[in-house]
């Protein structure tokens, strides 16, 4: 079963990825020294962008007395962690398994999976954009999340957090593509597993009475079949 022929498939040659932002290490150290969900320090966004994004989160899923807003729940941190996923090793793309420890078992979700070369190509392209690199542009250029967030948040304006609620809605609706992107991510950050940076302390799940991940405990037959 030894290889009989060998040639590089040109589109799959080793991929050079641009290096992470130079200040990522310092930002990460600063962040790690904080209980960041109470005193957030953005990993990838600037402070101003982060503040705008948090206001966007609260405009999309506002607090209402019984549920927290998506800002408090951590959706901005979820998005910021996704945008900066490659400043972690392994990158914060896929949380580990099989259990989180919340329903018994070991706490494994925090051990993020290593990515294969192709996984990394896909996720770097999705996040960083194709940046003119041939390996990322086999079907044409791709605009990454980072650029879309920079531009989308920029268009909303640095005064977005101070804008009146009606004005926020007008500005969000004026940019439907960005709105669709950010609303999806806000929902993921509010109701996804906390290991991805959002849903702080499972506040999103608790607000809606959702048990979250339940392995290895599961549900008894009685809990499944009875009212």
């Amino acid at each position: 079963m030894l290889p009989q022929t060998g040639r590089w498939v040109h589109l799959h040659a080793p991929v050079e990825h641009p290096t992470d932002r130079a200040d990522d290490g310092a930002r990460r150290a600063e962040r790690d020294s904080h209980p960041w969900y109470r005193d957030p320090v953005p990993i990838w966004l600037t402070e101003a962008e982060y503040n705008t994004l948090r206001a966007v989160c609260d405009a999309l899923i506002p607090p209402d007395g019984d549920s927290p807003g998506a800002g408090e729940a951590g959706s901005a941190d979820y998005i910021d962690t996704l945008l900066g996923a490659f400043s972690f090793d392994p990158p914060r793309i896929w949380a580990g398994g099989p259990t989180s420890g919340r329903a018994g078992g070991e706490a494994c979700f925090g051990d993020f999976h290593h990515l294969s070369a192709l996984d990394e190509l896909a996720w770097r392209t999705r996040i960083e954009g194709s940046q003119g690199l041939a390996a990322r542009e086999f079907n044409g250029p791709v605009t990454g999340y980072q650029q879309r967030y920079h531009e989308g948040l920029g268009r909303l304006g640095e005064d977005f957090p101070q804008a009146a609620p009606d004005e926020r809605v007008v500005r969000l609706k004026a940019d439907p593509e960005f709105l669709e992107l950010v609303f999806g991510h806000v929902c993921e950050g509010m109701y996804g597993a906390p290991e991805y940076g959002g849903n702080h302390d499972t506040i999103g799940w608790r607000a809606i009475g959702f048990a979250g991940d339940v392995q290895p405990r599961g549900w008894t037959d009685q809990e499944v079949s009875a009212p």
Binding site: M1, P3, Q4, G6, W8, V9, H10, L11, H12, P14, L60, I61, P62, D64, D66, S67, P68, G69, W94, A95, G96, G97, P98, T99, S100, C108, H113, S116, L118, L121, A122, T125, F138, N139, V142, C187, E188, M190, Y191, G192, Y196, G204, W205, A207, I208, G209, F210, D213, V214, Q215, P216, G218, W219, T220, D221, E223, V224, S225, A226, P227
Partner: protein, 553 residues
């Protein structure tokens, strides 16, 4: 060294072929383009622990592949749409060790006698090429019995009055019914339907060294963290334990190599990106009904019918909101089904006449509920009220749904071919899906939808909605024209005549002596049952024919 067989694809079809062949003493290499998250990389006779109750990883971040950026597919409804109208994900089933078996919620019904003889039982249909299978239910029954035991199917013999005869009981009793199913089955019975506990490839009791399902609720679209789903982890671990198999993940087969009427092996590209080739005495293709025709087209094999007669099950989706909590987020996603829409009655005959068609068949109707909170949150409108809507949870806690896996007919114009411009990351043309439901599908959906809606109202629904996938035929929330059924069928149909089929009754390509297809590509008609148990039984039968072994009973 030349192996006895190279098997392309490690899903239910490929795993079954590997199991049968290695137990008969053959040496095999299983090549899988996706990553391995199913088996322990250090000891592939044991399962891994990568799966989890994690909605982000599985349903938002392509953990089990295929990543639509790396491996886009394209879609159009017909020639009139141009090259394609969509690039990205099209009815994708995981591309990973274990294939789609890993995240299916695993209803595994057998087909019935009539499903193998649609043309002789019901007759032709305009525009479609309805055909009989070149085998009968009786031919397949012993293989059904064998694979039900191999993967571990839970069910209740006799519960379905329409079921074909069985040579023995199910290996396990049925698992716990969802609360909603206890209500929807009662309502369905009251209106004259015959619901029953769905045969399911998930352990209801400890079985084959794997634990019983603990009803975690993260079932469809996610891998099972405790490996209570038997298909195909049971087959793969057993295969690896024979010591006669190698499994190569992250390796893409780009071409089947041939000399005259024989395949000599395959070309493949491993994780290092280098293209190599290997020799094998037999080639088993089990890439699923989209990737299998793609590989045959890339290899220029199989003749002019390769890729034709794609079927996907035309789904009729009827949802109802109940004024009480059905907690559909607990348990397996579907615990009950009924077959009545596949049994012609006076009403369906009248509906057929009205539509100008000789007959109408629906499909198996799944009774289910549930949903996870991220997907729920994305459905509701943003802004004030979102939090209250989530707490009220119409979808996750109050919604009950019927999905009819409607039998779609084999049309020559519904196809898989190679896209003229879009490529995958390795530079190969992407598969292009051309699909449009025909008159039969639209009429069957329009006929059965209201009957299912009546059951939900009987169950107590305060609000109901009917739609279909692909949509656009009648009222519905989404007008998506791309099918989302995750059932893919046809594209290399089986028959005795090489002029009208691609493979023979044992899945062997008519034009090559040693290439066998072991997935649902070979089905001549789709039936209205999930395809997996039948494709697995066919794969076992085809592998048994190669190795000269009888079903193990």
């Amino acid at each position: 060294m030349t192996v006895d067989a190279v098997i392309i694809g490690s899903g239910p079809g490929g795993s079954t072929a590997a199991d049968v062949l290695t137990r008969a003493g053959w040496t095999v290499v299983i090549i899988e383009k996706g990553r391995n998250h199913l088996l322990d990389a250090r000891d592939m006779t044991k399962p891994a622990s990568d799966y989890s109750n994690d909605e982000i990883k599985f349903t938002n971040r392509h953990f089990l592949g295929p990543d639509p950026f790396l491996e886009p597919r394209t879609f159009r409804r017909g020639h009139d749409d141009g090259d394609h109208t969509h690039v990205g994900e099209v009815n994708s089933i995981p591309s990973t060790v274990g294939g789609g078996g890993t995240h299916a919620d695993g209803k595994t019904p057998r087909f019935r006698e009539v499903d193998f003889g649609m043309l002789s039982t019901f007759g032709p249909q305009p525009e479609a090429e309805v055909a009989d299978w070149p085998l009968t239910y009786d031919d397949l029954e012993p293989w059904y019995a064998m694979v039900e035991r191999a993967v571990g199917v839970a069910g209740t013999a006799g519960a379905n009055p329409f079921a074909a005869p069985r040579s023995g009981p199910f290996p396990m009793p049925s698992g716990a019914p969802m609360y909603g199913a206890t209500l929807s089955t009662a309502a369905a019975e009251k209106l004259g339907f015959h619901p029953y506990a769905a045969p399911t490839a998930a352990n209801s009791v400890p079985y084959d060294g794997r634990p019983a399902c603990n009803n975690c609720g993260f079932c469809a679209f996610l891998g099972c963290p405790i490996h209570a789903k038997g298909d195909p982890v049971a087959l793969l671990t057993r295969t690896m334990a024979t010591g006669r198999a190698e499994l190569w993940p992250e390796t893409f087969v780009s071409r089947i190599r041939t000399e005259g009427r024989r395949a000599t092996g395959v070309d493949y590209i491993g994780p290092d990106g280098i293209e190599r080739s290997m020799d094998a005495r037999h080639v088993i293709v089990a890439g699923g009904a989209i990737e299998t025709p793609r590989l045959l087209l890339l290899s220029r094999l199989g003749g002019a019918l390769v890729g034709r007669y794609l079927m996907v099950h035309y789904q009729t989706i009827v949802v109802g909101v109940m004024p009480f909590d059905v907690h559909g987020d607990r348990g397996r996603a579907v615990t009950h089904v009924h077959d009545d829409a596949m049994i012609p009655d006076d009403l369906s005959r009248a509906a057929a006449r009205e539509a100008g068609l000789p007959w109408l068949r629906g499909g198996m109707v799944e009774h289910g509920g549930g949903g996870m909170p991220v997907s729920e949150a994305k459905i509701y409108p943003w802004g004030a009220g979102h939090g209250a809507t989530m707490r009220d949870s119409r979808m996750r806690r109050h919604l009950w749904a019927f999905i009819m896996q409607g039998e779609d007919l084999p049309y020559r114009t519904n196809t898989v071919d190679l896209d003229p411009t879009v490529r995958d990351v390795r530079g190969f043309p992407s598969p292009r899906i051309t699909y449009r439901g025909g008159r039969h599908e639209l009429a069957a959906s329009a006929h059965h939808g209201p009957r299912l809606e009546a059951v939900l109202k009987e169950m107590g629904a305060v609000w109901t909605l009917r739609t279909s996938s692909p949509g656009g035929s009648f009222e519905g929330i989404r007008r998506r024209m791309i099918p989302e059924s995750r059932h893919v069928i046809g594209t290399a149909r089986m028959g005795v005549d090489p002029a009208t089929s691609v493979v023979d009754p044992y899945g062997r390509l008519h034009d090559l002596d040693n290439v066998v297809i072991a997935d649902s590509s070979v089905f001549p008609t789709a039936s209205g049952y999930g395809p997996t148990l039948t494709l697995v039984a066919l794969a076992a039968r085809a592998a048994g024919a190669l190795a000269g072994t009888a079903p193990e009973l």
